[in-house]
Symmetry: D3
Subunit: 300 residues, 6 copies
Amino acid sequence: MSPLNFTHILAQTVDELSESESYKGLFHQHTDGNPLPSGKALQQIVELTRAIVFPGYFGISNVNSRTLKYHIGVYVEQLFDQLTEQILAGLCFAGDGQEDGCCTEQLRQQAAEKAAGFIATLPEMRRILATDVEAAYNGDPAAHSFGEVISCYPAIRAISNYRMAHQLLCLGVPLIPRIITEMAHSETGIDIHPGAQIGHHFTIDHGTGVVIGETCIIGNNVKLYQGVTLGAKSFPLDADGKPIKGIPRHPILEDDVIVYSNATILGRITVGRGATVGGNIWVTEDVPAGARIVQTKAKK
Amino acid sequence: MSPLNFTHILAQTVDELSESESYKGLFHQHTDGNPLPSGKALQQIVELTRAIVFPGYFGISNVNSRTLKYHIGVYVEQLFDQLTEQILAGLCFAGDGQEDGCCTEQLRQQAAEKAAGFIATLPEMRRILATDVEAAYNGDPAAHSFGEVISCYPAIRAISNYRMAHQLLCLGVPLIPRIITEMAHSETGIDIHPGAQIGHHFTIDHGTGVVIGETCIIGNNVKLYQGVTLGAKSFPLDADGKPIKGIPRHPILEDDVIVYSNATILGRITVGRGATVGGNIWVTEDVPAGARIVQTKAKK
Amino acid sequence: MSPLNFTHILAQTVDELSESESYKGLFHQHTDGNPLPSGKALQQIVELTRAIVFPGYFGISNVNSRTLKYHIGVYVEQLFDQLTEQILAGLCFAGDGQEDGCCTEQLRQQAAEKAAGFIATLPEMRRILATDVEAAYNGDPAAHSFGEVISCYPAIRAISNYRMAHQLLCLGVPLIPRIITEMAHSETGIDIHPGAQIGHHFTIDHGTGVVIGETCIIGNNVKLYQGVTLGAKSFPLDADGKPIKGIPRHPILEDDVIVYSNATILGRITVGRGATVGGNIWVTEDVPAGARIVQTKAKK
Amino acid sequence: MSPLNFTHILAQTVDELSESESYKGLFHQHTDGNPLPSGKALQQIVELTRAIVFPGYFGISNVNSRTLKYHIGVYVEQLFDQLTEQILAGLCFAGDGQEDGCCTEQLRQQAAEKAAGFIATLPEMRRILATDVEAAYNGDPAAHSFGEVISCYPAIRAISNYRMAHQLLCLGVPLIPRIITEMAHSETGIDIHPGAQIGHHFTIDHGTGVVIGETCIIGNNVKLYQGVTLGAKSFPLDADGKPIKGIPRHPILEDDVIVYSNATILGRITVGRGATVGGNIWVTEDVPAGARIVQTKAKK
Amino acid sequence: MSPLNFTHILAQTVDELSESESYKGLFHQHTDGNPLPSGKALQQIVELTRAIVFPGYFGISNVNSRTLKYHIGVYVEQLFDQLTEQILAGLCFAGDGQEDGCCTEQLRQQAAEKAAGFIATLPEMRRILATDVEAAYNGDPAAHSFGEVISCYPAIRAISNYRMAHQLLCLGVPLIPRIITEMAHSETGIDIHPGAQIGHHFTIDHGTGVVIGETCIIGNNVKLYQGVTLGAKSFPLDADGKPIKGIPRHPILEDDVIVYSNATILGRITVGRGATVGGNIWVTEDVPAGARIVQTKAKK
Amino acid sequence: MSPLNFTHILAQTVDELSESESYKGLFHQHTDGNPLPSGKALQQIVELTRAIVFPGYFGISNVNSRTLKYHIGVYVEQLFDQLTEQILAGLCFAGDGQEDGCCTEQLRQQAAEKAAGFIATLPEMRRILATDVEAAYNGDPAAHSFGEVISCYPAIRAISNYRMAHQLLCLGVPLIPRIITEMAHSETGIDIHPGAQIGHHFTIDHGTGVVIGETCIIGNNVKLYQGVTLGAKSFPLDADGKPIKGIPRHPILEDDVIVYSNATILGRITVGRGATVGGNIWVTEDVPAGARIVQTKAKK
């Protein structure tokens, strides 16, 4: 093939790929002046939040009690600015159809209110995350200290991202919550939908392959192992064959439930308080409180 | 231990590690003038391709329809240059034994032809990926828009990488396809071998732990959940006890099949059109069209 | 909400988050002059080790046999310096309570001894990793060359990190070993505790979701597939309800065992030499040597 | 000194430095939502402009005539966006006193108009810079090609920055023009005020130490050597002893003037067409057209 | 030349360059455990200091009066840590001959005291730099605001670095002061030795080529133009022909002196209060108070 | 102005700037497969050379005599590879007109020979630079140690770059030498043409504004101060009015000459052995050996 031919192929491909028909639905048109959601900025937002909640473990590490307030002051300030910008970007992204741009003062004001709302919940978020750390420590004989749990355990990373994302979802922020949980999904293999509701002292051991669906309700003191699915069994379609949004379709786990590795629990069923679900099983019906179910014995 | 002893230990270890006997088979000898495969460059190639296929979602985000052609022109140009260089590096890597270097004009010409060949298929690749996006959107009540699916869903990332890698494999490019699918494997936990053949409207929900082997054949409208394995049951060895390459040994899934989480389907069996495979089961025999198989009920 | 209100909310949140009561157990207080463990430095340490063990595949790639010794000399030197610094940081981190700082000459000397001790085992580590590469190659018909296995296979990445971490644990280094195995966990979905003992010719196929617990003992020529758990069934608590540390609680796999995907093996049981454990099953009792156990057949 | 004392010293210094009295006039108060001038962004703006004017020499270098338009399209687009943002930042910075923020639609519209105005002059700017390149090449026997002049000569760098900055100044952009000429000053030691007016075929040999003041007027075909000052002799003060702004106070150099190294020409005097000013002299009176003035001979 | 020859040449050159005779006096031997001066760290130290002195102009720019104290607190903390480390490195570098390493507690304590001493002078340094800014503003009709002077004027950059470096020199810190003034020299072409003594309201116009020697004494309200040298005329040698250190050999400029561009003032002479030195002249004798000296008129 | 108008302006400007007439002589057309000169790579080449010549002062600083050879081995290897690539790029750049690409084996072989030739002169270059360091130390009472001179003095930086560039020029490498001296010009304000010939024990004090022309010949033990010009007085033009290349037109300075600040010496004149040229003067005629010339006394 001669260089001339390369030229021809490339130029023709550019033409094809630039035809508007060919990118219908796959192209995010940008309106001038609108901020854009940025994965990198969201990464920083997560890291700032982590640095505020677990000072010294994340963020600038040589902080001590004398300088702690200076550092938290700066982190909170940066978090407010960056989060406002990203929430605004999320609002713009969601409202694609609006013709007239969205760098309106009104929308920016809304974004700032949501960002401040998020920050105001950080003290409470720290209180709950402290219970998650405690649960992970108490649940693992291999753990040597809270410090090790906070710095190394993927469950803490995934649950932190979930708790941030869930809070943002409650504040009505679009898109951003899902991006934040997907970051943790990619890093830890733990996929918690931001819409799930999860109590305190929650822990996940190892965690790779865990899936927690959008409408799950999980009580306090629940422990999951790797590979556990809390999923939907099926979902109703509308007249056009599209799934109907927002219908409860994932399990409810009451307080003190344990689910072992690779168990799959599907549909709007309830696993009662204190029940234990053995590994590698497929559960689609209610499990009574205190019950213990396991796989049929393997054959040799 | 005195500093003198450290010196001695380090120097001796360097000597041992530099003996040619000790690195036999573990050392990639470089021939001057040969380009080298670069993980970073391949990452950019994947990002460029994504930016071409889904403009505005990936790459420079403030693109609009007026400037789209400029941007695609630049991306395609960069892709051609970088891909040519990496394909050449892959060809050199594979032909290790050749004594006389490989920055030959002939090999470079081959690399450029393969790169141009890849680019020429991008419009078709976009058309198929559009069906995958549609399938993911229709299959998940939690999805709010195509935009959310394209920007956040790990399945789209993994399937995109697979479709690029498969195309490169078909063009006879060594090593590079596997590196590209392993990138997605690391990010998403979804491991699709570039040799697999997969139809349109393909989707994977959540995805962590999915394995799709080299000789799988998957029809259209197939949906997999997390933890599904489409693997080999066993493989014949040659006279030296080495596995024989290239023998079909993975399942065939016909159109409209659904496989639930953590199911394992092994060997060159066929799951017939429209069949449903329940979760957490182990399947090593053909499944008839339209069948629905599930795990034996757990005992309490 | 007026800007004044934002100011008020942020300032009040900073105050709450700076109260010492609120960060009890979640704050890593830094003592001036102490080095700090650094994820980035540990990443470099892993990459340096990989570059020493597999020259030309990792690290500076255009190395040839003439210059190999220069490169290994420099890598070993850098590894010694960086590892000494990080081990010292690990020792400081673990000994939090000590009032008087820890940049003592004595502790630094200890750290240097451990770093030199680690380096001295690299030739042996290379010999064992060579057997792991061989096992992966022989066990996968899709593998084209040792080179492909070394550069792309997640199992090699995870097993390399494990072997480094295990060596550091044996040398009495705190915290760092776990961080190193968690890096591989995040990249590959394979979670091997640094405390496990694993023989030569070990391989893991695909690997996402594999969990190998702290007190596992694995013989030679063992092969695991994705999603396999070698876990604890339960663990005794002390009088305060805290788990007792260090009790053997994970399985023993003798030589030549194969475990298929998503199998869960729990407790201090023994899987005898040459046994095969089928996929998606739950095993909590000893498996005799040479046995083959599989899941109860699915129902249709 | 004990650690306690350090704590005391640092805390007290922070207090002193945070008293509003102490930073009066030295503190740039930020208003939320206002963009901020960014040295890094301005550096990119200069590089984009250079890449547009001298394609292939600056910016992405592997451009060819086939892809030139794609690249210029992308550069112009990026330039428009970034320049709009920085001009807006400059307008905000200049209008410090305004209470009510300045991310007004009106100001952003102004900024966009100025950015578009700047871009519209780029073709003319390229035409003039081509004459400067030609003059540098013709004036230096050591120059081998236009390419060498464009890529290496500090004069071209300094004159390019000046021509951009002058254009922005003419469009009424505050602050930014000066930052752009100071960038070149730092890199080349050539200090041209953006307010100066300079004709075509302008060149500066070597250049370090050249100063060209705000109200200079320089004709066509003028050549300066290193260390030449075109400065002010004195300037009138107002009633408060502050200098009065904007009064012509720097020299006029007519066409075809040459000024040798380290000559100092001060005040609103005129150096007539074709005059030559020798090196190391101090000129404060008009020089007639065609004259040649030199230093009094040194004594031995 | 064959590849074999290249190998030979390179290997032989490595051997020659590694002979200890060949690098005598040109090799900085590193002692394990000693910190090393770092240009990058010193750059950050200068930037931190600038951010503390001129908040909002340097450092994080979106600071406001509410958050100023948080930011200054963090900057001062970082400055203390980084400066202690670099001063320690400077002390080690200077004391090369000491056999026994220098990461002694005693030396680190000294370094911390000097760092705290430096920080304690920052409020006073800000007061003096404010007078320099005022002098630059009043002395230049082209200046529009204090803000423009602080952000763009090379003189402020050079004088800031000098005032920091001078303070460190007074505290007995070796090497570091000179590195800090050379940074400004490279960026601005203004070369002020850290040993010079300079009063308040000091300004330099344009500045490229200015040289101010080690033993200069400069009063208040002095103004220099570009290319001015305040140098040594000659210096006495010791018995070995080496220059004797520390003898006053540079000029004294009393209050209110102005020196025009490219003037050279050499030796321990005094330029009296209020004197004006014209440009391009060579001055080696005292200039009386109030005098005005200029170059002999050029000839035509 | 409406967005529509912006669109129109930008699109029209792109069109104008893409017309081939408009970029004639200002566009560097790239031929596929040709390497491109890279400022960043040349920066690394200079740094590698500096790290080889002055080990421990530049490059990785924690080198000691035990590991020196490993480090120099790696640096020399990297230097050879990078320099070969850049020399090849320089040869391609210079031979623009050639139609058929230039990644020919023959040209690459030439580039490698020149790179090896450069490396072979490094031991001699180190010997001469050692004399330059000695001269700087002996000539400056403010210098405390060789170490300070090597790490901080701009003259050493500029002379190092010159000596590298001169060697490359002697080997027939185009473009690259000039880029290397311009790097030092930008950093130090010292502009030495790579074509100049300069003896040992050469030093420049302060240095900003020094210019040394292409055909200068400078003996041993010569010292220049800041602002000194060794330039051309005039140069003959050819029939087309273009300067004739390569004619000797710059001064000859014999051994032991000193030239004080801001002196300008022009034309192919000779300054005799041991002569002293005072500051701020203009010299266009031969200066006898041992003479001392100074400026006519200033008038008051």
